[in-house]
């Protein structure tokens, strides 16, 4: 790269710079430089000016159309798909950073994404199989035993053998079982009989194949490729599967992504999910407003919710916290801590009646009057 170009590399956004570089390749330096100079001038014209209260703008831009969002919890986009949470409840879920979303969904992209059969095969492979799904359980209270009758057809479908199932059950309930032909018998000698019921309930949920937590996996088409959409998430386990595209497979559970892939991934999931909700609702909001929210929630390295337990509740200023929620508690705590409020934020300055440090209030101007 020529020396003069380097100067622009830092000054212009990356994509703009690359595009210009490509397009001015044939031009001589003087002309090209002129184009770069003009672009830079134009770019600067559209900059956000210092002092702009971008936080308030973002909050308003998201909040104002909030009144137009539906409260309806979910919809079924198309016939075969898994429920996708949407609307205001989902948005609130995102800014609250719930541990588990109401409708956890994973998008499992595949290395080989053009064949439907392959996709179906993988979907079946990752779907969680419990004993309940492949067998019927009968309790024989007289003999104090539970009889598990396995459906051999279903077993075959998942490539399992009776012995495998027996082994899994044994591991779970820590008890010897008797294995028959397509049949497993568990004896529970201990009284009362209630114990037997407890054990059968436990056995029903024993996970014998697939990935734990994935209640259902369906194959859907997305931008011309086959993708497995799951109901229930387990990002950590799914990433161990050989056939999937590890670079794109993602969960809609922000907390989970934070744990498995890290904070930057969590930020992007937050951003994409929020943008997706607004897009579904046909609401038009510029992406940078959502980016600011996502960035604020993730700057510290952990995902923090918006609200009492998160950003608002952890502000440095006592007055700002007291003005939001739990007024008295914050004031009482401040007193024993001997907190000093330096009045650097907006809310504090409004409370004490000073100009706010934003916009024109951020600039200090001193004029020297010349005496006549």
């Amino acid at each position: 790269m020529q020396d003069w170009l380097k100067e622009y590399e830092t000054k212009l956004p990356f994509t703009v710079f690359e595009l210009l570089k490509e397009r001015t390749k044939e031009l001589d330096e003087k002309k090209a430089k002129k184009i770069f100079e003009k672009t830079l001038k134009e770019y600067k014209k559209y900059q956000t000016i210092p002092g702009e209260a971008v936080g308030i703008i973002a909050a308003q831009s998201i909040g104002e159309p909030g009144t137009q969002m539906t409260m309806k919890t979910f919809h079924f986009a198309g016939v075969a798909e898994v429920a996708v949470p949407q609307g205001l409840p989902r948005f609130i879920e995102l800014v609250d950073v719930r541990k588990t979303p109401k409708y956890p969904v994973m998008w499992v992209y595949l290395k080989e994404n053009k064949s439907r059969e392959k996709a179906v095969e993988i979907a079946r492979k990752i779907e969680m199989v419990t004993v309940e799904k492949v067998a019927s359980i009968k309790e024989n209270f007289a003999e104090k035993e539970a009889v598990i009758k396995l459906d051999s057809k279903k077993l075959k479908e998942h490539g399992l053998k009776t012995a495998d199932v027996a082994q899994k059950i044994e591991a779970k309930i820590k008890k010897k079982v008797t294995v028959g032909r397509n049949e497993i018998i568990i004896k529970e000698k201990k009284m009362p009989l209630k114990n037997l019921r407890r054990i059968t309930n436990k056995i029903k949920q024993v996970h014998i194949a697939g990935i734990e937590g994935i209640r259902r996996a369906a194959v859907v088409q997305r931008n011309g490729e086959y993708v497995v959409q799951t109901d229930g998430t387990n990002l950590k386990e799914i990433l161990q599967v050989e056939e999937i595209d590890h670079t794109r497979t993602i969960s809609n559970n922000v907390k989970e992504v934070e744990k498995v892939l890290g904070i930057e991934a969590a930020r992007n999931v937050l951003l994409n999910e929020a943008a997706g909700v607004l897009k579904d609702q046909n609401l038009n909001v510029n992406i940078r407003h959502l980016m600011l929210v996502a960035d604020l929630m993730t700057v510290t390295g952990i995902v923090k919710p918006v609200g009492r337990q998160g950003i608002s509740g952890q502000k440095r200023s006592v007055l700002a916290r007291a003005a939001f929620e739990e007024t008295v508690r914050h004031l009482l705590d401040a007193a024993i801590d001997g907190t000093e409020d330096k009045l650097t934020g907006i809310a504090e300055n409004i409370i004490v009646g000073k100009p706010i440090p934003s916009g024109t209030g951020k600039v200090e101007l001193i004029m020297k009057m010349v005496k006549k």
């Binding site: 000016i49 971008v54 909050a59 009144t67 407003h289 200023s317 007024t327 024993i336």
Partner: protein, 878 residues
């Protein structure tokens, strides 16, 4: 000039000494006023605590009612009581410290460890404050933060350890088990700990140990949370009100203080009389109750103190708390002067940057003008004037404010010199803030130029209704008049309507033509818009243009040419209007629907202008290319000329516009019955058990999905037939096509069929057992029995249909109500979290503690309002 400025606020507890020191009077009697209505000395209304009656003087500072800020008094409590806000802290301290030596109940090694951590943290901080260092230091800072977390964790762990200890590692004393019986009674191994004993124990805890326990001994010694003296707030903080009957009604706080003083007195009497311990303890508990409820009247476990009427008293905590509390209602939100409020109505003759103000309001609101030698005569004219516009007040250089009356008018005119401030009435051209609540975004408040008009309502150009989300069915709006030069300049530079035509939310126009503006401009610009010379000159005369365009070959004037005169000369744009039917092969200029809008060098070549022309693409491009001023002028003229065109051409709809030919009616009937048949067939299939479920759903759910699908399609089919039958010329179709008002669904529902009604997003199934209304058989799930309405609004609904419609309508209302409150709270939380984020001089986005949130706003620093950047819809693809 700001003389004193608050730089910071430090919080802390008041020590008893401090309370006594700041006390202007010791309150000893529970009475307030003597029989002659004069405050009793040593009573709760003592004149030394400030005054609330006009005419009296404060006995402490000598100030009058509006100059004396009020002074605290105090009550000496004969027995200490616990401060209800610090019960938790006291419990922790009692558990974590030794009952005999007061030391924290962990070994010296642990203490040292934590101390060291805390020390290091402090030092780390000072290093960074001292000087900026390079990257390495910054990394250290980050690590320092992590260390802080470790310190915090360690401290918590230390407290937990101390709480569990049964023997003091310092003095080897055995520790009893401390128990709290809510709200304020403490026990040690089932033996009652009286507040006096608790206080003694807290006193023993050394300062050094308090630091480890998260208490700053300089701001708050824990024993101060066990009160021995109670501060009595100044009377101005608890003013009594005089009822019409002449009776005095005291403030809730005064009532509570009376209780406290009375019980305190009784306790003192009993003690000095040597009453038995039991009685003293009872009275002591009663004193504790009163002090507790004085602080917080919503403590769980004890009944709230009540008025005679049964209403719970509003005491200190309640005064601060919540939306109507001191902080949110009086500190975060403030009342203002120089404002007005009245009903709004639209007025197309105003510019979008203007607001029509009733003269009555203009006479009341004033603008302060500094008198200089250059405006002296002008100001004198205002003062001399006996009718609008005149001056209401003058402010002398010494700050004295004088009302101008008949008597002193001449006198003031004579003495007026530079240095005076004249408060003159509002006149045309003054700047004002115009606002409609709820102020959900920043364009809910914009600056308008005042136009004083007759009438009693605020007038505005309807193009500005969208940012305010206003209509004219009785909406009221507020007007504020900035009072300083700074405020006026900011209003004019930052807040005028024309600079907010494009929203910063999505870079699309918000200020734009609606309704009549759209249909009017359509009538002006479609191919049949021919005007005679008279008509054309009248139209252009409406917007002050005094020349005519070239007539066309037939000697008449075409609307397209007239419209072209409104456009800036070098403005070009080509777009497909809303009339486009997406026919596949674009005929461009020859489009039969005139959907191909082409403007070249300020001339409308082809296409009819519709909603995108008075908003949307055209306005956006004009704003970005030509700037606010030209766009405003365009909007002002378009709104006027489109209404003028409507006056010539006229647009009206009546019942007959929804008449459908018999043939079409038959078609509709057929579509409906086909739909019904299809649904019935599905139900039949389901009953036979032949319907296959989609994965993850039950058969019933699948059936519902398909039925909904079929019925929705049926309605759309009806709509299509109706549209064809009514034709493009039909005013209702025209309105929906041009984007003036309504949609094709509205037309369909009026002329054809209303379609499926829903409750909670599903077909209506609730009401009776297995049926929605008594008119149906149990288990009937056909279209009609589940809320499908075959009738149209014009034909009228059948009784069952009418009921379904009402159900659906109510569901919508309920949903809307819930939705607004939920989304309102979400917005409050977002605003609170994000409000401190501001772009700094170095173009980074930072919060109040100067932490960098983004290095460049939105990663490239661009402002969507300036770029008009493409929005989410296009940007995010799955």
């Amino acid at each position: 000039m700001i003389e004193k400025e608050i730089k910071s606020i430090k919080f802390g507890l008041l020590s008893p000494e401090m309370i006594r020191k700041m006390s202007a009077v010791r309150i000893i009697t529970p009475d307030t006023y003597s029989d002659d209505g004069y405050p009793i000395e040593g009573g709760l209304m003592d004149l030394r605590m400030g005054i609330i009656d006009p005419g009296l003087r404060c006995k402490t500072c000598g100030g009058r009612m509006n100059s004396c800020p009020g002074h605290f008094g105090s009550v000496e409590l004969v027995r200490p009581v616990i401060h209800i806000g610090y019960v938790k802290m006291i419990l922790t301290l009692l558990k974590a410290t030794c009952s005999s030596c007061g030391r924290i109940l962990v070994g010296p090694d642990k203490i040292e460890e934590l101390k060291e951590l805390m020390l290091r943290e402090e030092e780390g901080k000072t290093i960074i404050e001292e000087e900026e260092k390079e990257a390495l230091e910054l990394i250290k800072e980050r690590m320092g933060e992590e260390e802080k977390d470790i310190t915090e964790e360690k401290a918590l762990d230390l407290i937990e350890r101390a709480k569990k200890a049964s023997k003091c590692p310092h003095c080897k004393a055995k520790q009893g088990k401390i128990k709290l019986v809510k709200p304020t009674t403490f026990y040690e191994d089932d033996k009652r700990l009286l507040p006096s004993e608790i206080r003694e124990r807290l006193e023993r805890i050394p300062d050094a140990d308090l630091k480890l326990l998260g208490i700053n001994p300089e701001a708050a010694r824990p024993e101060w949370a066990v009160l021995t003296v109670l501060p009595v707030p100044p009377v101005s903080a608890r003013p009594s009100i005089i009822l019409e009957t002449g009776e005095r009604s005291e403030d809730d706080l005064t009532h509570k203080l009376v209780d406290i003083i009375r019980i305190n007195q009784r306790l003192a009497d009993n003690i000095s009389a040597g009453a038995p311990q039991l009685i003293i303890e009872d009275l002591w508990d009663l004193l504790q109750y009163h002090v507790t409820t004085y602080f917080n009247n919503e403590v769980s476990g004890i009944p709230p103190a009540k008025h005679r009427s049964g209403r719970a008293l509003k005491t200190l905590f309640q005064r601060l708390k919540g939306k109507e509390g001191r902080i949110r209602n009086y500190l975060s939100g403030k009342r203002v002067n120089f404002s007005a409020r009245t009903v709004i109505s639209p007025d197309p003759s105003l510019s979008i940057s203007e607001v029509g103000v009733p003269q009555e309001i203009a006479e009341e609101l004033t603008v302060p003008v500094h008198v200089t030698e250059w405006n002296l005569d002008e100001m004198k004219k205002f003062i001399k004037s006996k009718t609008y516009p005149k001056a209401n007040y003058v402010i002398r250089p010494d700050g004295r404010r004088k009302k101008i009356t008949e008597l002193n008018r001449e006198e003031i005119v004579d003495e007026l010199t530079p240095g005076y401030i004249v408060e003159r009435q509002l006149v045309d051209g003054d700047i004002s803030f115009f606002n409609r609540q709820p102020s959900l975004h920043r364009v809910s408040m914009m600056a308008h130029k005042v136009r004083v008009l007759p009438g009693k309502t605020f007038r505005m150009n309807d193009a500005t209704s969208e940012p305010y989300n206003a209509d004219y069915d009785g909406d009221e709006m507020n007007l504020h008049i900035p009072q300083t030069e700074e405020a006026k300049t900011e209003a004019e530079e930052l807040m005028p309507v024309e600079k907010h035509i494009i929203s910063i939310r999505h870079g699309e126009p918000l200020v734009k033509g609606h309704h009549d503006h759209v249909s009017g401009i359509y009538f002006l610009t479609n191919s049949k818009a021919w005007f005679t010379r008279e008509e054309a000159s009248w139209l252009l005369g409406q917007i002050g243009i005094k020349e005519l365009p070239e007539p066309r070959s037939n000697g008449k004037y075409h609307g397209k040419d007239i419209f072209s005169m409104l456009l800036p000369e070098d403005f070009s744009i080509t777009y497909l209007s809303k009339m486009c039917v997406h026919c596949g092969t674009c005929e461009k200029e020859k489009c039969e629907f005139e959907a191909y809008v082409k403007i070249e060098k300020g001339k409308l070549i082809s296409g009819a202008i519709e909603s995108k022309g008075v908003g949307g693409e055209l306005l956006k491009k004009m704003f970005l290319e030509k700037g606010p001023k030209i766009t405003r002028e365009y909007l002002d003229r378009v709104t006027k000329i489109s209404l003028a065109t409507l006056m010539l051409k006229g647009l009206t709809i009546g019942l007959s516009d929804y008449d459908i030919s018999e043939e079409t009616q038959k078609k509709i009937k057929k579509i409906l019955s086909n739909g019904e048949k299809e649904v019935n067939a599905l139900i039949e299939k389901y009953r036979k058990g032949e319907l296959e479920s989609t994965p993850g759903k039950t058969v019933e759910e699948t059936l519902e999905d398909i039925i909904m699908d079929v019925l929705a399609r049926t309605r759309t089919d009806v709509g299509r037939v109706i549209e064809r039958s009514l034709g493009q010329e039909n005013p209702a179709v025209l309105m929906s096509k041009s984007g003036a008002r309504g949609s094709l669904i509205n037309v369909t529902q009026m002329a054809g069929c209303i379609g499926q009604t829903s409750v909670r997003g599903k077909r209506i199934s609730r009401g009776y057992r297995n049926k929605s209304l008594p008119h149906f058989k149990e288990g009937d799930i056909s279209a009609g029995a589940r809320g499908f309405i075959k009738s149209s609004f014009k034909d009228g609904l059948k009784p069952t249909e009418f009921f379904f419609h009402a159900m659906s309508g109510r569901d919508g209302l309920v949903d809307k109500g819930i939705n607004t409150s939920v989304s309102g709270y979400m917005q409050r939380r977002l605003i609170n979290a994000l409000m401190d984020l501001i772009v700094e001089q170095d173009s980074t986005v930072r919060d109040a503690s100067s932490n960098i949130i983004q290095f460049a706003y939105g990663e490239d620093g661009l402002n969507p309002m300036k770029t008009g950047e493409e929005n989410l819809k296009e940007k995010i693809s799955d």
